[in-house]
Assembly symmetry: C2
Homo-oligomer: 342 residues x 2
DNA sequence: CTGAAAGCGCTTACAG
DNA sequence: CTGAAAGCGCTTACAG
């Protein structure tokens, strides 16, 4: 079936394609097209079930009313929910959003990213991985609006919406200390990503503040690209070997989930044998028994701010990058009870 | 910064845009463009950091090498994982995929869907809701390739990849019966969606087979569009009121998650006071204590099959719809122990 | 071996 | 109030 075009409508209505285009874009009244003409054109368009060719439109105007959201793993709870808010917000302003996952797979993530950027959307919201830096510089050079979320590059002057990771970790440790824990391990990603660095700093600072000695071997860094299987093994080994820790802070959703699996396999009872805090909330943490104390990210806030900033850049050509840092909140649940004297 | 076009390359190399286009599409050798010309053009293209304008390309060729995956809620575990496989598979064949969520929001889902279809991708993989039917008929009429996953419309002769829902429910009940349960409730969605109907049928058939009486009031249907809050309340009320049931089958991931929350609030111990089985696996079910027995969907299989069928339709113009039904597997965990005599 | 030209479907200055 | 025409950046039959 041939797609119906503006030309078909023009023919059927007996006017020029110019007029049709004007009317269909809602500029009829402005351009003083007669009311009956407007109605007629709209009626025919509907009859023919016309829908504009987005390629032609995009080619001509350079606009798509489409935002791209690029994350490294779309099956992740955090991103799933970010996506939801971003979509809701964007829709409010008449934009659709396309989600794209870069799968966090070294070289591949770059190809995927290039492909996406090639789609020429109006702007991008990106949760970047280290390997994306070159592509992001391209965006920058091309003047394409974008905003980074969750992570950012210290040496790139870009708009971003991030979390106060330092505070998140700091507060976690403070809470553990208050509950009587003193041998606190941190399990984190071995990556350059700034947010993990900040979390580690917050952890150290909090220990310092409470005069708890810092043991370097209580810090477990797990290579970023490890498979779930390998991460599981690493965590298991670490916890088994360090028999004297009394609590542990997982610095990401994913690490936390796998960490719980490790504890389960080791038959360590959460909240009894070991206090547990995780970064990012999810259903598992919220509903498992005992429920897990978490540092919760203001997911709605991240999504809303990102869309707002991005649209400002797109529409008003506001060029100075904006950096928003949101505050995490500590949600105390059952995995960090007051420590029993042993 | 002006985007560089094929014209710039032509000017700089001193050939026509035709030649540039041919070379850049890899047809140089075929068209017997001289080797040095090919090299020169490619070098210049790289220097100028050329990337083709997808609108122009799409407008001209009608192809985009892009697949659309439309789901109702992207923050859902099942869809998150489907997305992952679909993307992996599609990438293998040189396609990128865009995810779009219809947010399952009555009227809105239709607008979103229209917008997406307007993007004119090469084909669509859709987990449809009832309200999408009109749009899907449009796709059908327009001859756009698409395949339905997870759900389908009985009166639409479309390609689909679905689960043997009947068997899933049947096997669940059989397992419960074997473990000694006899007052088995089913909590399901009150929707026309065929997969929920099938699950209910499987439940009834299995009861019949094992000569367990069927009590209509052991079937709780929850309106599809209820908010999580309302679903929670419904489930809580139902379970509290029906004090005599000894086990419950939740027919979806989402219902199961909220169901566990309800049980928790009612202080019903899973696996002790009540046997529990859920459709679809996820981290919560796998790692909570006790771990939940589930009917697991072959997510990879669904994704792979969907992409394969879709690409066949796109490429070979193979037009007869293909329907694939995959078999679920019962994963027995701790929420359905042998029932104690009471 | 290479190029001039048409055309994909739209929008938008410009002219009347 | 309405239309003819140019042009967005590409590809592709066709000609030489």
């Amino acid at each position: 079936m041939k797609k119906v075009s503006i030309k078909d409508i023009a023919r059927k209505t007996g006017v020029s394609i110019t007029t049709v285009s004007i009317v269909l874009n809602g500029n009829g009244p402005d351009r003083k097209i007669s009311g009956e003409m407007i109605e007629k054109i709209q009626k025919v368009a509907k009859e023919l079930n016309y829908s504009p060719n987005q390629f032609a439109k995009g080619l001509r105007t350079g606009k798509t009313n489409t935002l791209g959201l690029i994350v490294d793993d779309i099956s992740n709870f955090f991103f799933g929910n970010i996506s939801k808010t971003v979509e809701e917000e964007a829709n409010k302003y008449g934009y659709t959003v396309m989600f794209c996952s870069s799968q966090n797979d070294e070289g591949k993530s770059r190809d995927v990213l290039s492909a996406l950027i090639g789609k020429q959307m109006d702007g991008y919201i990106i949760a970047p991985t280290d390997s994306m830096l070159p592509e992001i510089r391209e965006l920058e050079k091309g003047g394409t609006p974008y905003v980074l979320i969750d992570r950012f590059f210290p040496d790139l002057n870009a708009s971003s919406v991030t979390l106060d990771n330092y505070k998140g970790a700091y507060d976690s440790v403070a809470h553990l200390v208050k509950q009587g824990y003193s041998k606190i391990a941190i399990i984190t990603s071995d990556t350059e990503q700034i947010q993990h660095q900040e979390r580690l700093e917050g952890y150290k600072a909090s220990l310092r503040k409470y005069k708890i000695p810092f043991y370097p071997d209580c810090v477990k860094k797990i290579p970023f690209k490890y498979s779930s299987q390998k991460v599981l093994k690493e965590i298991e080994d670490f916890i088994r070997d360090k028999g004297d820790i009394d609590s542990v802070l997982f610095t990401s959703n994913n690490l936390g989930i796998i960490g719980l699996e490790a504890l389960r396999r080791l038959k360590k009872r959460v909240g009894v044998d070991l206090g547990v805090i995780c970064f990012d909330d999810n259903n598992l943490f919220r509903l498992s028994s005992p429920a897990i104390t978490v540092i919760s990210q203001p997911i709605k806030g991240i999504g809303k701010n990102a869309v707002k900033i991005l649209l400002e850049q797109i529409q008003k050509k506001k060029k100075e990058p904006q950096k928003v840092v949101l505050t995490p909140s500590l949600v105390i649940r059952e995995s960090t009870p007051e420590k029993r004297k042993s």
